[in-house]
Amino acid sequence: MPQIRVAIVSEPLDITAEIERVTAGRGDIGAVVTFTGLCRDEDGRLEALELEHYPGMAETEVRRIAEQAAKRWEISDVTVLHRHGKVKPGETIVLVVTASKHRHAAFESAEFIMDFLKTHAPFWKKEHTAAGAVAWVGAKASDDEAEERWNNAD
């Protein structure tokens, strides 16, 4: 059974600690893939992102996505951490870590998790610009297409 760790947190994420937690003392892991999603400054315009989430559902839904990945690929460990609240440019919004004997399982499961997080995890981003403007970020059609790929593949 794969280890699954999911958390929705308001503090900055520690990628090193997460990788160490996954690999420490294990001799059966050949491949670890990490994905770090960072807050961009949009050419200096952005002051912060505010991440609203659905507290009752966010963790459940993220765990469901991680479990789907664990069923579909031979992975021994999967970690998904997602920030909520205010995030500054350069800070991490989401961290996915997958570990497997085989590199393709680690790569594909991490990409699958990210594609489904974008379209299924109940989070909404609001931009606060340096000029004081505030606006909700719109969903991207490209994210729906990215998710759709996994429904057609194998």
């Binding site: 659905y54 919004i93 974008k118 909700w136």
Partner: protein, 83 residues
């Protein structure tokens, strides 16, 4: 039935959550959205493009044609932008 709203749906309606008792005949999510729009201008504005509204029933994503009988918590929100 508890309703919860997020992001611009919440802002336009002007509340984060409320408890409602939809009348008879409000069987599906589509029915619920239609009924909510009759409750005032804020609701009508927030839900004026039903296709843009995503729904979760008791923390599970659902289509608009899903029945709502027995559901305790209905969440309405725009397409998600996490990750």
């Amino acid at each position: 039935m508890k309703l919860v709203y997020f992001a611009w749906v919440r802002e336009r309606i002007g509340t984060a959550e409320e408890v409602v008792e939809p009348p008879r005949g409000v069987d599906t999510v589509t029915d619920l959205l239609g009924w909510l729009r009759t409750r005032g201008e804020a609701y009508d504005h927030a839900l004026s493009e039903p296709a843009a509204i995503r729904v979760a029933l008791d923390h599970d994503h659902a289509d608009h044609d899903t029945p709502i009988a027995g559901v305790r918590e209905v969440a309405l929100f725009p397409p998600m932008t996490g990750g």
